[in-house]
């Protein structure tokens, strides 16, 4: 067996195990689905009226999609930290299995959870008036881009999970950094209304790139005043979103694998 096929095979086994865990532990899906639905309802109906009504609700959904899949990376953080604490990582590291498999298995199972969450969020979006107005191919591309970005975020989560001193810390550390990243973007309001420095951050934030790409690909128009400020990141949203995801993977996959080799169960 080559290194690659063994790595994929072992990752598949670890992902199977993680998904059994998800199925038997309803909290996970609860957090992945209920929380974003709450956000949809809050923004669509509490702020939505003031921000543009029906058109705002359609604008909002792309932001919710990206927030949902990126917040799912917290499962990688907590899952890996849990395995470390319980000595399961020790067991895995003493087995003749691929060094990549525990991490790839974890990020892969989270990808499955993300896909499921996206499906549910799409149905929820349809209920509040969001529609796919672009071509079928563009819609497929939008979903693939979302999953790729979610996968990349999970690898950042992997490094955090392996570095966290306890599950409690992992729980808050896994989400904390995502709040500023998802809010200082065009997820909920157009970046154009933000003050100078914040606007620059929002414009160049990879979250904004993914959100903008998804809006473009689904054909969701921004309400008046929320259109992205012109500039390279907005004009090349899909390219920038792809590049960001690839750079995140290129940096965090090797970092996480290196950390995994050295990590010790507590």
């Amino acid at each position: 067996m080559t290194v690659l096929t063994q790595g994929l095979r072992d990752s598949g086994i670890v992902a199977w195990r993680n998904l059994l865990n998800v199925r038997r532990n309803a909290d996970w899906l609860f957090a992945a689905v209920i929380q974003p639905i709450m956000f949809v309802l809050l923004f669509a109906y509490v702020f939505g009226g003031a921000l543009g009504g029906g058109q705002y609700r359609e604008f909002l959904i792309a932001g919710i999609f990206v927030q949902t899949i990126s917040f799912n990376s917290a499962f990688t953080v907590i899952g890996l930290c849990n395995d470390l604490q319980k000595g399961i990582i020790d067991r895995f590291r003493s087995l003749p299995m691929s060094r990549l498999a525990v991490l790839l298995g974890r990020t892969t199972s989270d990808l499955v959870v993300s896909a499921l969450a996206l499906l549910i969020m799409s149905l929820c979006g349809l209920l509040v008036g969001w529609r796919i107005r672009g071509s079928f191919l563009d819609a497929v591309l939008a979903y693939l881009l979302l999953l790729l970005f979610g996968f990349a975020m999970s690898w950042i989560g992997a490094l955090i999970g392996l570095s966290a001193p306890s599950v409690e810390v992992a729980q808050s550390a896994g989400l904390m950094w995502l709040f500023p990243l998802s809010f200082i973007s065009s997820a909920f309001v157009g970046a154009g209304t933000m003050p100078g420095p914040l606007r620059v951050v929002a414009e160049w934030n990879p979250f904004t790139a993914v959100i903008q790409s998804v809006r473009d690909l689904f054909g969701n128009e921004a309400p008046p005043g929320m259109a992205p400020p012109p500039g390279w990141p907005a004009d090349n949203a899909v390219l920038y979103a792809l590049l960001s995801s690839i750079v995140i993977l290129a940096v965090f996959v090797p970092l996480s694998v290196a950390k995994y080799r050295r990590v010790a169960s507590k």
């Binding site: 072992d10 086994i13 195990r17 399961i88 020790d90 087995l95 003749p96 010790a264």
Partner: protein, 318 residues
């Protein structure tokens, strides 16, 4: 490395910050025997196991397991070993069967083989009735059995058990001892760490006593006991106020400092002259008007060995 040696380590050193967890450990386990690594908490037992199982790299020194260098050929070492750690490393949301099946698959077995092996182990470890239940519903002893079974999935040549009975009730301990006995009967080589002197005495062919990362004694249980020499005289008195006088008397009669359990009104000391020392002690206690409730003369236990080697008791008797 000769083929009749299953595990061998030379001058292993590992430091964490300013702590020298291992300070030049040598060990050798002949194939098919059990080595007991005995020492208190923090003696370096777990560090030694982690190095031998490739989880940790030593700062210096070398080690071979089943003929493979742990530093140069970690993957071959992993194929030859089974590890059961200090805490039962089982996935609580998976059933007992699924836990073992997963480990089998990760050892490279195909699906039918992994299934067959998991079923075999479930039956052997008396988990048949619980096989289809998530392991979080298991008792501590059952979880430990499941973890131990996980270490044996690939029928490893060398099994490393890090404190396999810590935290178990007496029944769970006896259960685990039985399993380890069967393992050895099947020809496996076992390295076992423990803080329980009784456990090393029961299970190990050779015992290595370590403290502060150094080997301070080695040999069979009998050799270690002989090293301490003499016997242990134990006196239990009626009143706590009599403990002081008793301690004074035993210090004169004995060959070492007495150990005092004030609360239990119990004083012990090592003696050279056996029954003669016993008679002498009782005579003097009578002169002092001490009421003796119980008296005993014991062959030294490994507790005594440890005390006389290190000058301090093990964790459980401290």
């Amino acid at each position: 490395m000769p083929t009749d040696t299953a595990v061998r380590a030379e001058a292993l050193v590992k430091t964490f910050g300013s702590t020298r967890a291992l300070d030049g450990i040598d060990l050798e386990i002949p194939t098919g025997t059990v080595l007991g690594l005995l020492g208190p908490n923090g003696a370096g037992k777990t560090t030694a196991v982690r190095i031998l199982t490739t989880l940790l790299r030593p700062d210096s020194g070398r080690a071979w397991v089943a003929g493979h260098d742990v530093l140069a050929e970690p993957d071959k070492v992993r194929r030859s070993i089974g590890l059961s750690g200090q805490y039962a490393a089982v996935d609580e949301n998976l059933t007992g069967f699924e836990n073992l099946y997963m480990v089998g698959r990760l050892y490279g077995m195909n699906k039918p083989d992994a299934r067959t092996r998991a079923t075999e182990l479930i039956n052997r470890f008396r988990l048949t009735d619980a096989a289809a239940r998530p392991s979080k519903t298991y008792s501590g002893g059952m979880r430990r059995r499941l973890d131990l079974a996980g270490a044996l999935v690939a029928e490893p040549q060398v099994v490393l058990l890090d404190e396999p009975t810590t935290g178990l009730d007496p029944r769970g301990r006896l259960d685990t001892w039985e399993v380890i006995g069967e393992l050895v009967a099947d020809g496996a080589t076992v390295l076992l760490t423990t803080q329980y002197l009784e456990e090393a005495d029961q299970l190990a062919d050779t015992i290595l006593v370590i403290d502060h990362g150094k080997v301070i004694a080695s040999g069979t249980a009998d050799q270690l006991k002989a090293e301490v020499g003499g016997e242990r005289l134990e006196i239990v008195v009626a009143e706590e106020s009599e403990v002081e006088a008793t301690t004074r008397v035993l210090a004169e009669v004995g060959s070492a400092e007495p150990t005092v359990d004030r609360h239990g009104k119990r004083v012990q000391v090592l003696v050279d002259a056996g029954p003669k020392s016993l008679v002498e002690a009782l005579r003097r206690l009578d002169v002092e008007n001490v009421t003796v409730l119980d008296v005993g003369l014991h062959r030294p236990t490994l507790d005594d060995v440890f005390l006389s080697l290190t000058g301090h008791a093990t964790e459980e008797t401290a």
